[in-house]
C-alpha cells in the first residue's frame, strides 16, 4: 500500500517525524522568557558518541554534541 499522496514537506526533505517534532519543540522553547528559557534550553543538550561497525570492526566514532571537544 505505497502512499503516493503528497508527502509533508519535511518528509520530502529527508527528516523523520522525530526530527520534525524536535525542531518544533525547540521553537516553542525559544518562545519562553528568561530565566525559564535558559532552564528549558538546558534540557535540550545532546551529547553522545556514535560509531558504525563494518565487518566486526568499529569505524571512527562520530561525536554528536552541542559542546564538541568538551
Amino acid at each position: 500500500m505505497a502512499s503516493t499522496a503528497a508527502v509533508p514537506f519535511w518528509r520530502a526533505a529527508g527528516m523523520t517525524y522525530i526530527t520534525y517534532s524536535n525542531i518544533c519543540a525547540n521553537l516553542v522553547r525559544n518562545c519562553l522568557k528568561e530565566p525559564f528559557k535558559a532552564e528549558a534550553l538546558n534540557r535540550e543538550k545532546v551529547h553522545f558518541s556514535l560509531s558504525k561497525w563494518a565487518g566486526g570492526k568499529p569505524e571512527k566514532p562520530i561525536l554528536r554534541s552541542d559542546t564538541p571537544g568538551v
Partner: protein, 325 residues
C-alpha cells in the same frame, strides 16, 4: 612443700627450654619475621596492619559510592516513573507483539558506561544473545545496536560480526528527551529493520530490576499485521483527520513510538544501574567490615604470640643465668 615440688618440676623442664634459648636470642632484631620456638611461621604484624589500613580505606570509598548512587537514584526515579506514561498509549493502540516473526530484527542493548554496578549488564547481554538465537535462522538476520561501554566489551568477544552501531558517552549530560530522540533518529537512519527489540533493565524497586524486551515494529509490518487482524486490525476503525493517509500516520507513529520507548528504556536502565550500584557497594562495604574483623583477630593473635615469645626468651635466659650461677 607444694611450692618446692613445683619448683623442682620447673627446674626439670628448664633444661629442655634452656637448651634452645641461644637460637631464640639470635633473632630479636628480626622479630618481625620471627620463627617461634615451636618452629611455626607467623605473619608479621606490619603486614597485617598495612592490610587493615587499605581495607578500611576501601570500605570508606565504597560507602561514599553508595551514598552518591542513592542520591542519583532519587533524582532519576521520579523521571523514569513519569516517562512510563509516554509509551502506554502506544501499547494501548498498537498492542505489544514480542513474538512476532520478522525477517530483519535489530536488538538494541542498553547498558551502562561505568562499572561496579553488579550484574545488570551481563543479564542484558544474556537476554540479547537469547533473542539472537530465537530470531536467527534461514532468511532471517539479527543485528545489534549497543548502547554503553560495558555491553560493547562483552558482546565484542563473540558477536562482533553482528554489531552494526555502538553508542557511548550517553550519560555525560543529564538524560533528556532531545538526546534520546537524536539517538533514535540515528538508529532509524542507519539500520534497516522490520522489528526493533529494545533490551533494558526495568526498574521495579531498589533491589529488583528485571531485564525486559520492548518491541517496536516498522510501519510496513504494522500494515501487514493489520490486514491479518487482531488488535492491529482495529486500526481501520479509527478516523484519520487531515490530509494524511493511513500509511503516513503509521510511519509517524512508529517513529515517535520508538523514540518514546527508547526514552523510557534509557531512564529505567539508568535507575536500575544506580540501584544495582547501591546494593553492590553496600555488600562490598559489609564484606570489607567482616574482613577487617578477621584481620583484627589475626593481628591480635600475632601480637600476643610475639609478646609471649619474648617473655619466654627473657625468662628462659634469666633462669639459664640463674642455673649457671
Amino acid at each position: 612443700m607444694a611450692m618446692s615440688i613445683l619448683r623442682r618440676e620447673g627446674r626439670r623442664l628448664l633444661p629442655s627450654i634452656a637448651a634452645r634459648p641461644i637460637a631464640a636470642i639470635r633473632s630479636p632484631l628480626a622479630s618481625d619475621q620471627e620463627e617461634g620456638l615451636i618452629g611455626v611461621r607467623s605473619i608479621s604484624t606490619q603486614v597485617v596492619r598495612n592490610r587493615m589500613k587499605s581495607v578500611k580505606n576501601i570500605q570508606k570509598i565504597t560507602k561514599a559510592m553508595k551514598m552518591v548512587a542513592a542520591s542519583k537514584l532519587r533524582a532519576v526515579q521520579g523521571r523514569a516513573e513519569n516517562s512510563r506514561g509516554l509509551w502506554q498509549p502506544f501499547t494501548a493502540l498498537l498492542g505489544d507483539n514480542p513474538s512476532i516473526d520478522v525477517k530483519k530484527s535489530v536488538v538494541v542493548t542498553l547498558s551502562s558506561d561505568k562499572g561496579l554496578c553488579g550484574g545488570i549488564n551481563s543479564t542484558v547481554v544474556k537476554v540479547s544473545r537469547a533473542l539472537y538465537k530465537l530470531n536467527a535462522g534461514p532468511e532471517k538476520e539479527v543485528k545489534f545496536v549497543i548502547v554503553g561501554e560495558k555491553a560493547k566489551a562483552i558482546m565484542f568477544r563473540d558477536s562482533k560480526n553482528d554489531i552494526s552501531l555502538t553508542v557511548t558517552e550517553l550519560n555525560k549530560n543529564p538524560l533528556n528527551y532531545a538526546q534520546v530522540s537524536v539517538l533514535a533518529d540515528d538508529i532509524l537512519k542507519n539500520v534497516e529493520f522490520d522489528a526493533l527489540r529494545i533490551v533494558y533493565n526495568k526498574f521495579h524497586s531498589v533491589v529488583a530490576f528485571l531485564p525486559t524486551v520492548a518491541t517496536v515494529l516498522s510501519p510496513e509490518i504494522i500494515e501487514k499485521e493489520s490486514e491479518v487482524g487482531g488488535k492491529l486490525g482495529e486500526l481501520d476503525s479509527y478516523e484519520i483527520e487531515g490530509g494524511e493517509t493511513k500509511g503516513e500516520i503509521l510511519q509517524n507513529l512508529a517513529e515517535f513510538q520508538f523514540s518514546c520507548v527508547m526514552f523510557n528504556a534509557v531512564l529505567e536502565n539508568a535507575c536500575s544501574e544506580m540501584g544495582a550500584r547501591m546494593s553492590a557497594m553496600d555488600s562490598s562495604s559489609r564484606n570489607a567490615g567482616e574482613m577487617l574483623d578477621r584481620l583484627t583477630l589475626t593481628y591480635n593473635r600475632t601480637r600476643q604470640a610475639s609478646i609471649t615469645t619474648e617473655l619466654i626468651e627473657i625468662i628462659s635466659g634469666a633462669s639459664a643465668l640463674e642455673a649457671a650461677k
